[in-house]
């Protein structure tokens, strides 16, 4: 009934540092690319407008193939478009490490199995600097140990317990859970005066 269980415990790969606070979902994927009935091909347009100026980290060959995105605070604010984490994931991002996220971006990412972990600003700066100096550095995001490593650099990471459990048990695609007890759902609905017509 539900999708195949896929446990997410540890993501390893190279990283891509993307500096800036309050990067909104209109920047991650401009609205005109939402004119589609599917999510396919969104990766071609990730940060499309920001990249017109040249010199964007997503165009830097040193970061090609990166699996871990490093961001600052309030990443993914603005529109609720799931197209934003879809575009990043389809581009190849498998984990995000940042100072903080908008709630909707965080929950959209979680439903896609894309972990967004939080680290302290000073630690993030170290991670970004390390990767900028040596883009080939192996980076890992470990949900078991709640650590992010970059070479010999090791910093503590945070994620709400529920999200961590969902990722590690493979329950991040949660529709099945919501359908398990449909009689209870009906019972709650029946108790609501506006459902029964007052």
């Amino acid at each position: 009934m539900s999708a195949a269980v896929s446990r997410i415990e540890r993501i390893e790969g190279r990283a891509l540092p993307l500096r800036g606070h309050d990067i909104d979902t209109d920047r991650i994927i401009p609205a005109r690319y939402l004119r589609s009935v599917s999510f396919e091909g969104l990766e071609q347009h990730v940060f499309a407008d920001d990249r017109t100026g040249g010199g964007h980290p997503f165009d830097n060959p040193a970061y090609a193939g990166a699996a871990v995105l490093l961001v600052n605070r309030n990443f993914g604010c603005g529109s609720s478009r799931e197209h934003a984490p879809q575009a990043l994931q389809r581009w190849g991002i498998r984990a995000v490490v940042g100072e903080g996220y908008s709630e909707i971006f965080f929950s959209n990412s979680l439903t896609l199995g894309l972990p967004c972990v939080t680290v302290d600003a000073a630690d993030l700066e170290q991670l970004m600097s390390r990767v900028e100096q040596a883009p080939e550095t192996a980076v890992s995001v470990d949900l078991q140990a709640m650590q992010v490593t970059a070479g010999d650099l090791r910093v503590a990471a945070r994620i709400p317990d529920g999200a961590r459990d969902a990722l590690m048990t493979g329950l991040w695609d949660g529709t099945g859970l919501l359908l398990e007890n449909f009689d209870e759902v009906r019972a709650v609905a029946a108790r609501l005066p506006y459902v029964s017509g007052f």
Binding site: G20, R35, L112, L192
Partner: protein, 473 residues
Amino acid sequence: MPRTLLQKVWDAHAVRRLPTGQTQLFVGLHLVHEVTSPQAFDMLRARGWRVAFPHRTFATVDHIVPTADRRRPFLDVLAEEMMAALERNCREHGIPLYNLGSEDQGIVHVIGPELGLTQPGMTIACGDSHTSTHGAFGSVAFGIGTSQVRDVLASQCLAMDPLKVRRITVTGRLAPGVYAKDVILTIIQRLGVKGGAGFAYEYGGEAVERMSMDERMTICNMSIEGAARVGYVNPDRTTFDYLRGRPFAPQGDAFDAAEAWWSSMASDAGASYDDEVVIEGAALEPTVTWGINPGQSIGVGGRIPSPGDVAPADRAGVAEALAFMDFAGGRPIAGIPIDVAFIGSCTNSRLSDLREAARIVQGQKVASGVRALVVPGSERVRRAAEREGLHEIFEAAGFEWRGAGCSMCLAMNPDRLEGREICASSSNRNFKGRQGSPTGRTLLMSPAMVAAAALAGEVVDVRRIAVPAGVTA
């Protein structure tokens, strides 16, 4: 023990605690539009699921619909494909669709309330971040992503983490020429674009209690711009009077029963809040954004900040905004020339917004070289405005008068900025590229301020042009 509205609504809709620690919440009203739903319906189809509560699900089209030439098929084949997908999905699952050509079509956050679908004490979800608008009625309304749209279609439920509540009290009375838009822009400026993370915002105080439902919707609409996923106002007489007689509101005796339940859902006196903030309403002035997020705003009499004026952590953000906007720090916001004036969006496209703007432009002309358009939030709003002759006032002044849709707020349709144009806009987001040109620039302000800017050709204090008669001092 006294509870807040959020706690009461949460408790009434909680199905169970999930193994993930989240709460499974029943969703009383699911609103659907053409942009964030087609993939959700496809996921449903792929898993062989049906829509669980089609009679609690309603759809309309707003984001991609043209506001000028609305003939089908659209010239934009991608937009046409999205329309066709929604039509097919609604037909297949028995979901009412207020389609183009329907007299009730419009922006989802405008039609829900005006049809009486949005009611106090409900949980509401929609695949759009501005779903917070519906909190104006004392509902708890969540903007969600497409996978969650799938969840709600399949189960009528959401898995949610608990929210804290921040009470925001706006004291006193607003001065003439100061509107709900100025209140919410000021709140976001003071509390920050990420200040509301983890919170629902409860708006109250004399200034909010005196507001019409239209004005309360403007405030709740932009809660998400301050990172509060949910914003609400406790339901009161104004709420009930608005709802009475609406097509989906309870009728006859049921309305009295509804009113009693709705009243019981308001926050109790003595409820405790996780945080409380007080804003002095009488001190507010018309407010304009100068930067690239909705928190970067100042009073119309103020000067644009320089990086040196702000805390060290904010300096890079100010510098980035000034560079993108090509504004010099320290210059007054008044007098900045504009190219486009846009009155519309789920924030400010309701009848009272259009009335205030029309009062400003009556008998005047849009400045030469300024492209100006008014896009009513719904076809109901359009017809009501036309009955009052507002369209003639706008057209005589040089504004274009359009059909209902999201239009230039996010430019997924033919309405958009070109190149480096600067737009005085009654919408909700001034992000880089938001209005369709990657280099286009947006100044957010109230509809009356947009009207004033359209006439002057530059940012101007609306109180210098006219004291809007609709507001009592």
